[in-house]
Amino acid sequence: MSARVGVFLCQGGRSQADSLEFKKLRWTAEAFDQGRVFTVAHTCQAQGAAAVARLIKEHELTSAVVGACPLLHNPGGLSRALSAEGLDPQMATVLDLCAKPEGEASGVCAVAPGAQAALSQALCGEQFKQELPLEDLAVATSVLVVGEGLPALWAARGLLKAGYHPVLLTPSQRLAPPALLLGTEAVDEAAALAKELEEAEGVTLIRQGRLLGLGGGAGNFTATIADRAGEIRSLSVGGVIVAQAPPKALNLPPQGLAAGERVVSLEELASLLQAPEHLKKRLGQGPYTVALGVGLGRQAAPLDLIGAMNCARKLAAGPQNRVVLFTNNAKVAGDDLEALTQQVRGEGVVFVKFTTGGLRGDETHEGVELQWDEEILGATMADHFDLLALDQAPAPTPAYHELAHRLGLSVGRDGYLQPEAVNALPAKSRRAGVWLVGPARGQGDLERWADEVQEALYGVRRLLAQGTVRVESSRVMVDRKRCTICLTCVRVCPEGAMDRLFRRPMSNPLACTGCGTCAAECPMEAIQIVGQEDSRYSGEIAAAAGRVGDLGQAVERRLLVLACANSASPALHAARLQGAALPSGLRLVQVPCAGKVDADMVLEGLQRGFDGVLILSCHPDACYSLTGSTWANMRAGHLGNLLAETGLEPERLMLSGVAPSQSKEVLAVIKKALATLDQLGPSPLKVGAQVREVLTRYTLDMDDTFSIVG
């Protein structure tokens, strides 16, 4: 079916339909030969939106551009009306073409300055809309779970219950929870669960396994695994859930102490307490004086405090034992931990908290001699303890780094696998189809970990369904003739969606979000995204530029804003709904992600006579496509240098991060950018744009003209 585009123009609540500006809009719309033009009224109200939806249905339109005020832009308005007619709620592009005339009362609308340009821009974009065929993809229904603690066991059981085949890869021999939780219900739960999984049918258990590689992509990974005997096998898995904690080392206070017989981990103490004869062997008959330290080096987490509390209570139960707990920030941010600390104090455990000072000491074969500054008494204290037990902090080993690398991830600065991006929360990783949960992500507690596991299981359900998924075929087109297989796209894709199939890059439609980062970064310009082609943006930018004006004519300074659809666009929309007017001299082009903005777009803008370009992205680390805005930042920095080399002020290219809730800030950023342009004065390239415009008036195609002139 060929495209039938409807162009709807709202003539406003009352008035303005006869104005020249409105007529000009109509003419622009009518000049677009693939569409039909409709004039409607009151699109700010439900009846107007309903009328648009009705007309779309009646005329069997395949797509629509609606020029109205921001009120219709409300997803609740038009999209609900479209759904009510049984139409695709996303089929219409709504343009904000309305301005309330200064000082006028409500209900009076006017055509906004720049509306004509915005309309032709949208109509240009309309020509690139393309629906791609849906395909049924077969995906693997096995899921790899890496880890051996309780979260890994939860994940495996959840998969089994949901009808998937879990492959549980444990780095060690035992399916075991951290010993730290000894004495809590979690231990019994883990033991029961381990037993259940060992006996269950439909679970593949690979103990002491090692992941050698994870090829392919979301839905169809190939995991290469070496088992205990060194036998290597290849498994086809649809997704991966990683719940493996990094290896840990004693969280030592900064001064003087080292791990030894008498300076041990809380985990070790917990297992000693589990078997009193071992404790006796190590420390003698007792009674014992034991020091516990939590978070004295790096910050601890509630789970560490829970572990310390369990040990403390067990020790304090012994009649003459003495227990002192040293900490700086008592992390009581867990369910009932506050009450638990109070109870433990009541049971005779002494708490010493440091603000600035810390614990110093030496280990002897009899125990440890500890010194500390008692803040409340203002005195230095010293005491002998039979044992000092400390919490542990991540100390990633080469093997853990390797595991991360094999998974296509990396170990973060804090030793965990969680990526920096806030949008990877709560359970995503930098690679689609690979989830990070529990102790692989970072510090937490069991409640949070349990939720993360379920969130990942929901992700698996969404990705793999029952083994076949219906998706739109890939929008990412790699031109084989241009591609030199440099694999830049594979490296930059925020989702790890670029697979290497027969060594050639190919985007996986199950993972690709269409952010366009690959297209912008490809040095050979070999990648186009269907619907977001380079030609679309050059067309839109040209349309947005509109007429520059005649040679020698003073022209208003103009700013091209390339706005991220996920952050800047909603922020601007919110600003408009709050009644703010956009400053004049501004043209907006929306991009799927700032990561899509390439040098050509910026240069096109400058060449078309814009005095400057402002890229509005998400804040770095808050990008909705994880790292798109980071790439945009790097590219903008680079491009600024290039501009400087050509003699153009690099300040003409600006980039700013905004969050979708920052409706005030986004306007402030734009105003600041305009002020910068006011200071810089008109762009020297503007004259060129004016020459081009004069030349195109003489019917010759612009590029031909330049080849003739040039």
Binding site: Q45, Q299, I376, D414, Q454, Y458, A659, Q662
Partner: protein
């Protein structure tokens, strides 16, 4: 096993309810979402972005796209200004009576021109309210508890001034009875109200505000001002653990306050060059790259381990905080432009009624505890959590409900 077709009731339209509803709808399940307030979004829709040049990872913006998507999903039916009046379990499902308050402002007509807001004498008291989210379709709502008409029966300035004739005080509410296969409670928390603790000066002194108010102020105005004179606040104190870790009150840590206060403090220091002090007992931040975060915070803010024992503000003067700077040191009194009380997450006062209706128990702090078949919990209705955790718990609720529906279906 086909996609479950039965419909699910989600109570609460905050980020947890929104995420659960979307997760279910994405899997083809029809959802009815009941929100008590006139608008969706819950508390997460009040949070401000705290980014400096780079994101500070407050998680605030995780809520935005989820809440926006909620308003337009074809499988989700929204019941705003509504409550579940009754929930009766029957074989394999629940029957819910959903009561909707009258919409005195017709959302189908209102163009949000704002004339009524200008005309209303009680707008400060919240008689006419506007949504926090741009994506909200009913643009304005009248609050019966603050509107004069419902007191004197004759104040109708808004109705008279509305050019769209959208306001009608005679409108009636609505009640529907619907059947559901499963129920999700995502009814959230309530920020601790510091008014009764007069020692904190809240409600007594104008420049003592809650962190919730600061979040909203930053979100809507982009900066922190002193309520007494509207000037940008140059010196700001945060007082932690207000309504948390209190043996005689909420005896638990609210988990998010240290995180948000340090981030708000850093944002104020960077954006308006404010001098910021944070009064705390223990810094609870944990999770991701904490050491680095706390180090940066310690460099930019004054972290004082001491809880102020008195807050007062002389007329015409700045708020004074009385505290002991360090153990053993003499108490001092220090002036601040703005004192922010980092209020904790208290249980929703509706919890006892909700628990009774849904056949659940309350935990010892008054949050909802899991229990009943076919009833799932999401978000801060269960315990304090941040937005990311609320999203994860919503995933868990959705996953639970989907599994339950699949098992129920022959």
């Amino acid at each position: 096993m086909g996609l479950p077709k039965k419909q699910v009731l989600v109570i609460g339209g905050g980020v947890a309810g929104a995420t659960t509803a979307l997760d279910l709808a994405e899997q083809g399940v029809a959802v009815h979402l009941v929100e008590r307030d006139d608008f969706l979004g819950g508390r997460a829709a009040q949070l401000a972005c705290k980014a400096l040049d780079s994101c500070l990872k407050c998680n605030g913006c995780l809520a935005e796209p989820r809440l926006a998507a909620l308003t337009s999903h074809p499988l989700i039916t929204l019941h705003r200004a509504s409550t579940v009046a009754n929930l009766t379990g029957f074989d394999g499902g629940y029957q819910a009576v959903i009561d909707t308050r009258p919409a005195y402002i017709d959302a189908e007509r209102c163009t949000a021109c704002g004339l009524c807001l200008e005309a209303c004498p009680e707008v400060e008291a919240g008689a006419i309210r506007a949504p926090r989210l741009a994506a909200e379709a009913p643009r304005l709502a009248i609050d019966e508890t603050a509107c004069l008409y419902f007191k004197d029966g004759q104040s109708t300035v808004c109705r008279d001034v509305c050019p769209e004739e959208a306001i009608d005080f005679g409108r009636q509410g609505d009640s529907q009875t619907l059947d559901f296969a499963a129920v999700v409670l995502a009814t959230g928390f309530t920020p601790y109200d510091p008014t009764p603790a007069s020692r904190l000066g809240y409600g007594l002194f104008p420049d003592v505000i809650t962190a919730m108010e600061l979040e909203e102020m930053l979100r809507t105005q982009g900066r922190a001002v002193r309520p007494s004179d509207g000037e940008a606040a140059g010196k700001v104190a945060f007082v932690q653990c207000v309504g948390s870790r209190d043996v005689n009150g909420n005896n638990y840590c609210s988990r998010v306050c240290c995180g948000y206060a340090l981030r708000l403090g850093r944002a104020l220091a960077a954006r308006q060059q404010a001098e910021v002090a944070v009064f705390y007992m223990d810094l609870q931040s944990f999770g991701h790259a904490v050491d680095e975060f706390l180090e940066a915070a310690a460099g930019e803010l004054r972290l004082v381990r001491s809880m102020p024992y008195d807050i007062h503000q002389p007329p015409e003067g700045s708020v004074m905080l009385d505290y002991q700077p360090s153990p053993g040191a003499p108490p001092t009194s220090e002036p601040f432009d703005l004192v922010v009380l980092s209020v904790g997450l208290a249980p929703n006062p509706d919890n006892p009624a909700l628990a009774q209706m849904a056949g659940l128990d309350l935990n010892r702090h008054g949050f909802l505890a899991p229990g009943k078949q076919g009833v799932f919990l999401a978000g801060t209705a269960q315990r304090p959590m941040d937005v990311a955790e609320a999203v994860a718990s919503a995933g868990r609720a959705a996953q639970g409900a989907l599994t339950y529906l699949a098992e129920m279906q022959p």
